[in-house]
Symmetry: C2
Subunit: 317 residues, 2 copies
């Protein structure tokens, strides 16, 4: 059996561990898809980030039975061809949760503690004790989304003694949320929010879900943080909310257009913090992805039906 | 019975609540000790930050039975006179724990996530995804001190799945510490530390406890954070540790000399972050102090022997 990986820079210890643990498997660790393509005709299993798999490649890959996508987004996968061939697809949904929870807590503390002002004072050698610091304990956090990432963020928020309210499609109760509401009752949650953390995937239903009226409902000191998808809310709506003091601050990691153009208004806006879509970045990303791959490879070989994060090609998630 | 408070800017709702809850007590809320002094001869109870109580005042305060110190440091209290007169002293030990835990976690995240570089890139309108971010989950934190503040920091660290090792005088086990060691075995803890959080009070035993040899024991990527007392370690030892890459970064909120002079080397040092002794600052400081005062006032009036944070004038803590 042949596993072809298109993932660049897989650490040597991971390669060695896989080869050691699966002696019956031949592994080909390629430096990107260009290299991997040459081997695709022989591959039983393909490991990829999922952005560069073409319908033609699926045609060529006559032995292919399983694609492991080392990403959570599946927008660019040729699911029609995959479905016809009954190729199994799995992804790494869930491995972003630790770093994204740390991103959220870190950025909220940065805003609440006026870190930018503090760093500027430090830069000026200024012993500035006039900076007014707020505490995050005792605050209320409304999370838009109650999936793995939202739940991990809520779990840590609870340790800070933050009240957590989750808003999801179903409104189903979940661990680490003091309350959960269905999205059609979002208006009840927003007025209570000191902190709003959006971590919704991009679907037809979430696209431009947040409108001006939603920002009007938030308290004027609220901090809005978006680390989900850039099309949750139009840029001009965020800008208006901040400039009209409907909210206190916006922390944005995702945008309608990425990279955010150099001349975009957001960059210079006092009460907007821009980060370059890196909430999901982690030095542990590849190790965690391959940990999940290894578990799935065991199940794949055993045919035990226990593979994790199986994707339904019809629903595409 | 007369309560004289020397605390400036006590919020009106707190004054009203106390007057309402204790009709048998006369409250005098003064704007600082200068004003309070004029009433000291009649005071049964004095509320003070404890820095401006003189032996002469104790002499004048012929009715004084209880001093509530709205601080944790008691260095400047005239304990000899207080002991002679059998005046009860209580302080607010423990009310710093929430803000100081938030300070510690926030600053560690700031260093691990390269917030200064990120903010600089943002300032330059630069979509910079090359910043290498580390996660704090999975790290090991050595806390010097296992009191209320260290324990609260350890509690939140545990939520981040950080391993916590506490070092204290006794080494007695405490909640939220995976391990605890007595200070004479500190050498066993330091080599394991990704994060070192010092929150020791200033006593004869902790004064200049940390020496060059201790920094040599830490891993070269370790982040050292001191929010306890400035005389835990000499400035030149920290500077050497950072410059010689014995540690990766130092976050300092307390110093041998405060305010830190404008021309001090620390300010400009790449791998040192200076904050102006504000880890204990909080908008909740006075409310929390008066909450504790109110509980103690109830016990004081009931003579139920339940007063919290009683200070032994001999041991001075």
């Amino acid at each position: 059996m042949k596993v072809v990986s298109a993932i660049k820079r897989v650490p040597e210890d991971i390669k060695a561990r896989l080869k050691n643990n699966f002696e019956q498997v031949e592994f080909f660790f390629c430096h990107g898809m260009k290299e991997a393509k040459a081997l695709i005709a022989e591959a039983d299993v393909l490991i990829t980030y999922g952005e560069d798999v073409t319908p033609e490649m699926i045609g060529e890959a006559v032995n292919l039975k399983w694609i492991m996508v080392l990403s959570a987004g599946m927008d660019q996968m040729p699911f029609e061809e995959i479905e016809k061939r009954n190729i199994v697809v799995t992804n790494v949904r869930g491995i972003h949760r630790k770093q994204m929870a740390e991103y959220a807590i870190s950025m909220l503390l940065q805003v609440y503690r006026q870190a930018k002002t503090m760093i500027e004072s430090e830069h000026n050698h200024e012993w500035n004790r006039r900076i007014s610091i707020r505490e995050i304990n005792g605050q209320t956090m409304v999370l838009l989304g109650t999936g793995a990432i939202a739940q991990e963020t809520a779990r840590i928020a609870k340790a800070f003694r933050i009240k957590t309210i989750g808003v999801s499609k179903s409104g189903k109760a979940k661990d680490y949320f003091d309350e959960t509401l269905p999205v059609d009752r979002i208006e009840e949650a927003l007025p209570k929010a000191d902190l709003v953390v959006a971590v919704l995937p991009s679907t037809r239903e979430t696209s431009y879900l947040l409108k001006e009226e939603h920002f009007q409902l938030m308290p004027d000191h609220a901090v809005f943080l978006n680390m989900g998808r850039g099309d949750l809310v139009a840029s001009h709506v965020i800008l208006k909310a901040v400039r009209n003091h409907q909210i206190g601050h916006a922390v944005l990691d995702v945008f309608e257009e990425e990279p955010l153009p150099e001349d975009h208004t957001f960059w210079g806006e006092k009460n907007i913090t821009v980060t370059p879509h890196f909430s999901g970045k982690s030095p542990q990303y590849i190790p965690r992805g391959f940990d999940l791959f290894e578990q799935n490879l065991q199940s794949f070989l055993n045919r035990d039906g226990e593979m994790k994060n199986l994707i339904d090609p019809k629903r595409r998630y």
